[in-house]
């Protein structure tokens, strides 16, 4: 057993740090660290810098412009980028649809879409969920009927994250109603500017516009936008979900949030002393830090076990549950740390350019909203109940 990084890994970490020191825009990092809103332009600006460095597509083979990092290198990147306040990359293009295209797409699709993902020309969103198909994804109803060299798509997707920014959506659609639910699904790439598509915002409880409903009314999609074979979409979808799940534990994000919490608790007062010196509160922080320590090692164990390649299996479901619970606990504590100031919702302070006086702590405004927003962590990407179902079935044989 050896829990230390190798010399090469340490050198890589130095390289990452040097890059971030030099290239990460301070305004963007400040937004990320202060949990402020990021604009589409912020994401695109940072993506461009990453792409130029050749570090944007860490899951892709080199021939398509990816970088071949080992799982440990990816882990180092994740840790460092969270520590520095690197924006979370919007995963739908680079980490979701791209692996599917690379594995199941044809050459034309690879040539067309992959460079546009690298360059940031395309912004993708994920069209899986429907009003009637959440956990039971395979029951999806959005219909695609082939007519000549087109599919005609009718139906509705929902919860489409950042669909308002996207120009492309990858969709699971039903192409066959005669067979078992899982066997009649296809994977379609759809241009959001096609006539018949309407995007409507869904506002979440924190007042944020992050998710959308996407309606399809007689939308004509060229057949060449089908990935792989017709009716085989479920296989591709599941392949993608394993990719999605591995990132969902959010260990690096939890570490950054914990650091933020500790700084906050050092500034806030209770009984005239910093809150972090309060026995009860410091023990609450200690408990979550200990949980995170354990989860971080579990994460490394999974990473090490797939060092040879491939994607982790059902163990990542356990980690998703743990990881999201930990992040939610940190958000809970941050909200508690500002006491009565969790109640005001001073939206203008969410803007980093805000130059007025802060009502309380300069980082207080987003905390309650973020706590509410992150209730999503245990719902999306396969709810935590569904993850536990997977573990009990796949690992425990129950």
């Amino acid at each position: 057993m050896n829990m230390n990084y190798t010399a090469e890994e340490l050198a890589f970490r130095d390289e990452v740090r040097a890059f971030l020191d030099k290239k990460l825009p301070a305004d963007i990092a400040a937004k990320v660290k202060g949990f402020r809103r990021l604009s589409k332009e912020d994401h695109q600006r940072w993506q461009k810098i990453l792409s130029e460095q050749g570090w944007y597509a860490t899951h892709w083979p080199e021939e398509y412009g990816g970088v071949k990092w080992t799982p440990v290198q990816k882990h180092i990147w994740d840790e460092e980028s969270c520590r520095y306040g690197v924006p979370r990359s919007i995963p739908f293009g680079v980490n979701m649809v791209a692996p599917v295209i690379i594995k199941f797409g044809n050459e034309e699709q690879k040539q067309r879409y992959l460079p546009r993902i690298l360059s940031g020309e395309d912004w993708w969103c994920q069209g899986y969920s429907e009003p009637g198909a959440g956990s039971d994804l395979a029951s999806l109803k959005t219909r695609a009927v082939r007519e000549g060299d087109h599919y005609i798509v009718n139906g509705q997707k929902t919860w489409t994250t950042l669909g308002q920014h996207a120009n492309m959506i990858f969709c699971l659609v039903r192409t066959n109603t005669e067979v078992k639910a899982q066997e009649g699904i296809s994977f379609l790439l759809i241009d959001m500017n096609t006539p018949g598509i309407t995007v409507r915002p869904i506002i979440t409880l924190d007042g944020e516009h992050e998710v959308n409903e996407v309606f399809f009314e007689d939308v004509k999609v060229p057949v060449e936008n089908l990935v792989g074979e017709e009716d085989k979409g479920w296989t591709y979808a599941k392949y993608l979900l394993t990719y999605e799940r591995t990132g969902l534990a959010g260990i690096g994000l939890s570490k950054a949030a914990l650091q933020h919490l500790k700084e906050l608790a050092s500034r806030r007062l209770k009984n005239g002393k910093p809150l972090i010196e309060d026995t009860a509160f410091s023990q609450r922080i200690a408990k979550v830090e200990i949980d995170l320590m354990a989860a971080a090692i579990s994460n490394l164990r999974i990473i090490a076990s797939v060092e040879g390649g491939g994607v982790p299996g059902a163990e990542s479901s356990m980690l998703k549950v743990r990881g999201t619970e930990i992040r939610q606990s940190i958000n809970d504590l941050a909200r508690r740390a500002i006491g009565p100031y969790a109640i005001p919702f001073v939206e203008e302070e969410l803007d980093l350019d805000y130059d007025g006086d802060y009502l309380s702590d300069e980082n207080a405004a987003p905390l309650a909203a973020q706590y509410f927003n992150n209730r999503k962590l245990s719902i999306f990407g396969g709810s935590n109940e569904i993850q536990k179902n997977i573990v009990s079935k796949m690992i425990l044989g129950l």
Binding site: S135, W159, K270, R284, G339, P344, A368, F372
Partner: protein, 380 residues
């Protein structure tokens, strides 16, 4: 022993329930919330006309002479409707402080209006550094002539943005955390040197921080004995906790009802999701949290207007601790049981969920009251 409301109390609760049902649809609430006032002027007037703002006041003020139980009945229904009118701040706290500490002239001047709803009061008892400890007061009161000059800041004054009169605590002597040396003052909203920074709250109401810059008040603004307000504040905060527990129970009832209904109606994998045992057990846990909260609310109401004692203190701390924890459980598990829909603005459940979390940030969270209870435990 009988835990049921008596006939009069039941009638009172039914009156509020009817009023809320008639006036407070979910859509209307959003409108009220977004208005400048931040709640419904019309609804507030009706609360006054029906005598509901007078409930805790004596009969000569048009009230019922109601105690904790009556106030809680009103608050429970306001909770069920997720009402955002400043009843707690004006009637329970503002009115309570003046009733307990005021001299005849002050009572005469203010209580009639508060009881009828024509005057709105709000209370500024917290400060940026106080973290729920109401004895932690830095705002200074200095004698000047036969009056006082007030300087300092009071934080998160719910309803303060539209109050006609503000009851604020300020220190006339002693150190920041001393119980001794705190006084209460009645400050008119238009007092020179008083600034309000108004904001919406995350659960749909409105409030403000008060900035007192050389606010000069007369001797008649002093409420109660100079430097001796800590006890009054503690006592009235206790009454407000009992009232807030009532509101919380109302909010939890609706949150549980909505969740249960959704479990029966939402289908996944060909069956209502309520068929999944993990959700069944969670729903049972939510109901059981609600029952714990209801019991503690009843207990809190029963001591709210009793003379102060360590027993009263313990019960109120315990009640607020339970309410905080149950509220958070029902809020979080309710959202989780709903899936994505539970987090959306358009669906009323999310607003109940938010209110439950924010109730925990009013008058001390579960951690604060656990510590308080533990301290009283040692003392007993």
């Amino acid at each position: 022993m009988d835990f049921r409301l008596n006939e009069e109390q039941q009638m009172l609760q039914d009156t509020v329930a009817r009023l809320v049902r008639g006036e407070y649809s979910f859509e209307k609430r959003l409108e009220f919330s977004e208005s400048d006032l931040g709640f419904s002027e019309h609804f507030w007037k009706q609360l006054g006309e029906l005598g509901l703002t007078a409930v805790p006041f004596p009969e000569e003020l048009g009230g019922f002479g109601g105690t904790g139980v009556e106030v809680q009945s009103v608050m429970t229904e306001l909770g069920r409707g997720l009402c955002i009118e400043p009843y707690l701040q004006s009637v329970v706290l503002g009115g309570g402080l003046i009733s307990q500490a005021g001299n005849d002239q002050q009572k005469e001047q203010w209580l009639g209006g508060i009881a009828s709803g024509e005057t709105r009061a709000a209370v500024g008892l917290q400060e940026p550094q106080s973290f729920y400890d109401l004895n932690n007061v830095e705002t200074r009161a200095e004698k000047s002539g036969d009056g006082y000059v007030l300087n300092g800041r009071k934080s998160v004054v719910i309803g303060g943005h539209c109050a006609d009169v503000l009851v604020v605590s300020a220190r006339i002597g002693g150190d920041t955390q001393d119980a001794d040396g705190i006084s209460l003052f009645l400050v008119r909203a238009d007092a020179e040197g008083l600034e309000r920074r108004t904001y919406p709250t995350i659960d749909g109401a409105k409030g403000c921080d008060l900035f007192l810059n050389n606010v000069t008040v007369g001797a008649d603004a002093l409420l109660g004995a100079e430097g001796k307000a800590a006890e009054v504040i503690e006592y009235q905060a206790g009454r407000a906790i009992a009232a807030l527990c009532g509101e919380a129970v109302g909010v939890m009832e609706v949150a549980c009802d909505l969740t249960l209904e959704y479990l029966k109606q939402r289908k996944q994998f060909g069956v209502p999701i309520g068929r999944f045992q993990v959700l069944q057990h969670r729903m049972v846990d939510m109901m059981s949290e609600l029952e714990q909260a209801r019991s503690m609310a009843i207990l809190a109401a029963s001591v709210a207007d009793e003379p102060q004692s360590d027993e009263r203190r313990r019960i109120l701390a315990a009640a607020k601790n339970v309410i905080g924890r149950s509220g958070q459980f029902i809020s979080e598990q309710g959202i989780q049981s709903h899936g994505g829909i539970g987090m959306t603005w358009e669906y009323n459940f999310a607003h109940y969920a938010k209110r439950l979390i924010m109730i925990n940030h009013q008058l001390g969270d579960d951690d604060f009251h656990l510590e308080r209870y533990a301290t009283l435990l040692q003392a007993s």
